[in-house]
Symmetry: C2
Subunit: 316 residues, 2 copies
């Protein structure tokens, strides 16, 4: 029984799939399957079995998953305790949906670190489905994105989802357009567009955009640039494209079902299991400084510009 095996088991249980767990851990699927097999043999119990809706816990698995989760959590706590005892900066591992990771998280965490000091933040990308499991298993400390069940989620920021395109496109000037007005047009999205649980993914589904029309770009900025070049339409967060719209590079399409007003949430484990840095971050989010940092977000600051005591690194 190794911690790696326990981690694999817990993630399979939480995500309901070996493949998803493997992806969350960043390893191949047989690696997870193998770890699971080893743990199964060691404990003499199947732990999780194939069910109609993904992998389901066996009777034994149900009893063990909580214990296993605690063990994995404690391992992380042990490392954090040592860091703290040695006066090293606290680690704050944030996962966010792609748009937040690109535009909001960097400036937010920079402002946070400048305020409280002695914090080393890193930002990772995750799908909505992964985020909950990652935080619960302490593979991450904070999740920024949609509301998450099983965690303490709190609204962090309002945003408005619109669809933009280059001026002079098919819908330009129309007051109100049905969805099919953009049929046959490419949808230029970032990673979150491929995540069916994200807001953008939901929008694409509601508009019945066919798979083949979705073009995934490595960043939101790249997708918008392509839209400005007339390659298609792009979902966008209103205030993040405000500057481009203002100077006429992009226009907001009056598409049916848009704009969508939504909320971004911050999600963490419950208060009694939080590290001090996490608690401080949650408090910080309520301050005007945080609000300002989130809105300033323009994605123009390259990641590499940040220096100690904050290292903002992006891991996928």
């Amino acid at each position: 029984m190794t911690l790696t095996q326990l981690e694999a088991f817990v993630l399979v249980a939480r995500l309901g799939s070996v493949k998803a767990a493997a992806q969350a851990l960043g390893v191949s699927e047989p690696a997870v399957s193998g770890a699971l097999a080893a743990l199964r043999q060691h404990l003499g119990d199947p732990l999780v079995v194939r069910g109609p809706t993904g992998m389901a816990l066996s009777a034994g698995g149900q009893r063990v998953v909580g214990i296993a989760s605690q063990m994995v959590n404690l391992a992380v706590e042990a490392e954090a305790a040592i860091r703290h005892a040695q006066g090293a900066p606290e680690l704050l591992r944030v996962v966010a949906t792609s748009t937040l990771a690109e535009f909001v998280a960097p400036s937010l965490l920079t402002a946070f670190a400048a305020r409280v000091g002695a914090v080393e933040a890193s930002v990772g990308l995750a799908t909505a489905a992964e985020m909950s499991a990652l935080v619960q298993e302490r593979l991450a400390d904070v999740a920024l994105g949609p509301r998450l069940a099983g965690l303490e989620s709190e609204p962090m920021m309002r945003y408005r989802l619109v669809v933009v395109a280059a001026p002079g496109g098919p819908l330009a000037g129309r007051a109100r357009a049905p969805a099919r007005g953009v049929a046959g047009v490419d949808w230029l999205v970032d990673a979150s567009g491929a995540d069916p649980d994200s807001e953008v993914g939901g929008l694409l589904r509601r508009l019945r955009v066919p798979e083949g029309r979705v073009k995934v770009f490595p960043s939101q900025a790249a997708a918008w640039a392509a839209a400005a070049d007339g390659h298609g339409v792009a979902p966008a967060v209103a205030h993040l494209v405000a500057r481009d719209v203002g100077r006429g590079a992009l226009v907001v399409l009056p598409l049916e079902g848009t704009p969508i007003d939504e909320l971004w949430y911050v999600s963490t484990v419950s208060a009694d299991r939080r590290s001090p840095a996490v608690t401080r971050l949650r408090r910080f989010l309520a301050t005007p400084d945080a609000m300002q940092a989130m809105h300033r977000a323009d994605g123009s600051v390259p990641v590499s510009r940040f220096r100690p005591p904050v290292y903002v690194t992006i891991w996928s």
Copy 2:
């Protein structure tokens, strides 16, 4: 960071010595030292450092030892949970001082298992110093022996420590003899005689018995048999040698400082961390059945006679 490493670290911290931890784990001393070195490197902290009184925790070690202990505990809990989920009998690992392991524990645990069923008991030997750490780290569930600090100890049974020898020896017939009356005589003891923290060890110390005069036998019964053959004197529990004394094979020496009235204790972790079987055993100890079983104890029943659902095995 592996569970083996954590286990080694916690035992070193609790026992204050690498050597003692190695002995408790039944491995060589470099094995523990190596595990410790690996954990030190992984965490980047010395964890325990040589102090004037054994190995002492570093600042980081202090923070980690509790966490590490929890992890080890949870690992044991996970295995127990699986056993339970599969309807397997609960495991009850008892450690006892040598005399208890030889005479009291087998009949006591047999009676207990007969009463509650679905329990698989095993008995191990340990020195008084080891017992506390073994129970706290869940390497054992119950300790039978002296009162233990840091655990919930409860008196289990009174006993009287006397010194016996063959009739017609140097002290025969004397009403009261000073300790030096047996100077130059061999002291025939079992394993607990070599444990300075045990009652017998304390008695030998008080009587200033020189090391060279202490002969350690593999079992109490063997020591008494040797005493009956006139090879020396032996500390003994009064009611356990009552039969031999009654039929004249041994006589109780009227040695100064004896008899000693003492208590055997049962020690476990606190109530909220106990497994059901442990709680049941503690309750059982208060019953007349248990009293009778403990006093019936005569060591004459070979271990192999016990059948399922109780396997009483002795591990050292």
